[in-house]
């Protein structure tokens, strides 16, 4: 062990330190904040956006961006709920089939977005934004604007049953996070995301099929969006067009706050976990502190700026876009 952590090390841990600092701060203002119960509450709110953010992390590592998550989540949630209901409406029966089906639907959504982006050579920002509209529209068409209720107690036990103080969905989400970590570290695809983000033209010249990696990335992200949809439905018992509402900005903000650079090639899913927790801790903490609603947007903005300032290695950057 060296006696002093190097600058690089400090930078790597900065997001976590920001998180700890926030927790300490909110605890000082209201001691109730520091309790297992509250952490469980924060983790419930954080679970669906975490899944979405993990998916988007892979895209951002590639140096692209995905804005289709709201549409994908809506489509996944609605198809899941429709199928689940049609198959008997309980996990006890054939309803479980809707779970893998939902993940497949997510993958297809991502596949379509990725194919439009790569196939038509449209920048991912526009391709995914447009496909997001299409996704929202599809879910609307399927529901006609109605909400589908999912009340199966077995499925809802993801929310209602607890283990070690946390609802089951939090544990499942943690397992999904580990799987994402595994993909990021141990699989060719995961590593290729970094290659594409580090230098797309170089990767192409090295014989990497960049187009395929890109499309696969979007499809993979879609699977995580589907997990996000499942947890969102488990959390609220409702599947609707608005299920993915607001996930776009929240997840991208979280990713950046966690230290994954928007220009690609760095960061990862653990960063995203920390980022999502930071954003959710701020949101929870502001209410626990008793801040009036109308200042919350501004305070969130300020804190996000501070968090990003602290957690990115800005010395090494000549400029940012």
């Amino acid at each position: 062990m060296s006696n002093l952590a190097s600058r690089g090390d400090l930078q790597r841990w900065a997001p976590l330190l920001v998180l700890v600092a926030l927790i300490v701060f909110f605890t000082l203002v209201n001691p109730n904040f520091l309790s297992l119960k509250n952490f469980a509450r924060i983790s419930i709110s954080a679970t669906p956006p975490l899944m979405v953010a993990i998916g988007a992390t892979f895209i951002i590592i590639m140096g692209s961006i995905d804005l289709s998550m709201e549409g994908s989540v809506a489509v996944c949630a609605v198809i899941f709920a429709t199928l689940f209901t049609a198959l008997g409406g309980t996990l006890g029966g054939w309803g479980w089939v809707a779970l893998p089906a939902c993940l497949i639907v997510g993958a297809i959504c991502g596949l379509v977005t990725g194919t439009v982006h790569v196939g038509l050579r449209i920048p991912s920002f526009m391709a995914s934004l447009s496909m997001g509209f299409v996704g929202i529209g599809l879910s609307l068409m399927m529901t006609g604007g109605d909400r589908i209720r999912v009340e199966d107690p077995l499925f809802r036990s993801l929310l209602t049953q607890r283990f070690l103080g946390f609802p089951l969905m939090v544990h499942v989400a943690f397992a999904v996070l580990l799987a994402a970590w595994f993909i990021q570290r141990k699989t060719t695809l995961g590593r290729n995301f970094y290659a594409v983000g580090g230098g797309e033209e170089l990767a192409h010249a090295s014989g990497l099929n960049v187009r395929r990696v890109r499309i696969a990335g979007f499809a993979l992200a879609g699977v995580f969006y589907a997990f996000g949809a499942l947890f969102a439905v488990a959390q609220l018992g409702i599947a609707e067009t608005a299920t993915g509402y607001n996930f776009m900005f929240v997840s991208i903000t979280s990713i950046v706050v966690g230290g994954t650079a928007l220009w690609g090639g760095s960061g990862g899913v653990w960063n995203t976990l920390v980022g999502v927790l930071i954003v959710n801790v701020i949101n929870n903490g502001m209410i626990v502190m008793g801040l009036p609603r109308y200042v919350q947007d501004g305070v969130l903005g300020l804190l996000v700026i501070i968090a990003v300032v602290l957690s990115t290695d800005r010395k090494s950057l000549a400029f940012v876009k």
Binding site: K37, I44, G145
Partner: protein
């Protein structure tokens, strides 16, 4: 060209409804009313033109103008202008083209149908203060007149959000032993309400003995936050709007009360007013002021009447006489 049509000159005008979005049960009921009115004319549902503004006043106005252009003013429009300031330019555009418009919910206090001759047919709103005071009273009574509540409001600058909050405040005056711990806007959003409620639980813990929600969709979020802690059904919650799910929740004992504004009728009659004024079936300027600015009906729903309400309004749709413009209404709007 538009000004050419006098009242009664438009034969078979296009009928359109302009509203916020398709993802909200409230607006879906409004639309179903509009469609059922169109069907009463012997036309297919699809004859109703939908202008969806997605919460954007800019789009709302642009769409209306585009439709006025397309129909060349042969239009009967029912609209919620999304934000009150938007009502005036919408009305002015419609009047300039000689089309006919009826508005609901959002308009400024200085904008009146009678200042525009026949073309601005009517404005309907719902006075939410009274019903909100009723639901709040039910809540406070259920708490035994003591304890502490938290509240969740709609988009802060929306009229109904403000009125419902006022209703709550009025009710609280009669219950000096109940404390309002905090009241925050959750923007009519289920997800937001859910996370605000769980943060409330951290902040106030067991102190909370009741929850006031400014609409149903937020109440769902609140109930799920309570369910996660095993508290659903143990803390009384009231809401507003009378959606199907809310009625079921009342029956299940998780929700104490809600209020229906009968959006189906509202949606139908607003379109009907604009249409029949356009075709000349009646002449708006001959009608008294209370027929041009009036409140819609509200129905309080509690456990006692939930079953009956469900049977009458949800499992079936009552048939209305779309020419009985003011029958079910609840008196003139007072400022």
């Amino acid at each position: 060209a538009g000004r050419a049509h006098a009242a009664g000159a438009i034969e078979d005008p296009t009928i359109a409804w302009s509203y916020r979005d398709r993802t909200n049960p409230y607006w879906n009921s409004i639309v179903s009313g509009g469609e059922s009115f169109v069907e009463s004319l012997g036309k297919p549902k699809s004859a109703l033109v939908h202008l969806i503004n997605e919460g954007s006043s800019e789009k709302s106005l642009a769409d209306v103008k585009a439709l006025l252009g397309k129909t060349d003013g042969k239009l009967a429009l029912a609209i919620d202008a999304n934000d009150s300031p938007n009502a005036r330019p919408v009305v002015e555009a419609v009047v300039a083209k000689g089309a006919f418009v009826s508005t609901i919910w959002n308009k400024t206090d200085d904008l009146h149908p009678w200042d525009f001759g026949d073309n601005y047919v009517s404005h309907m709103s719902w006075s939410d203060i009274g019903p909100a005071e009723q639901t709040a009273t039910i809540l406070l009574k259920a708490m035994g007149g003591k304890g502490a509540i938290v509240g969740l409001g709609g988009i802060a600058s929306n009229n109904p959000a403000i009125e419902r909050r006022t209703g709550l405040d009025n009710a609280l005056k009669n219950f000096p032993d109940v404390k309002l711990l905090d009241y925050q806007a959750a923007d009519w959003d289920t997800q937001k309400a859910n996370s605000i409620m769980s943060s409330y639980l951290t902040r106030f813990g067991d102190e909370i003995t009741g929850v006031f929600c400014a609409n149903d969709t937020m109440a769902y979020g609140v109930l799920e936050a309570l369910r996660a802690e095993g508290l659903a059904g143990q803390i009384p919650v009231v809401a507003y709007d009378g959606n199907a799910q809310a009625v079921d929740l009342i029956l299940a004992g998780e929700l104490l009360a809600t209020v229906s504004t009968n959006p189906h009728w509202g949606g139908g009659i607003t379109a009907a007013l604009a249409y029949y004024a356009a075709t000349g079936a009646f002449k708006p300027s001959d009608e008294p002021h209370e027929h041009r600015e009036f409140n819609g009906p509200t129905v309080l729903i509690t456990k006692a009447d939930a079953e009956e309400f469900k049977k009458k309004y949800i499992d079936a749709t009552p048939t209305y006489d779309w020419k009985d413009f003011w029958g079910p209404s609840a008196g003139p709007i007072t400022y």
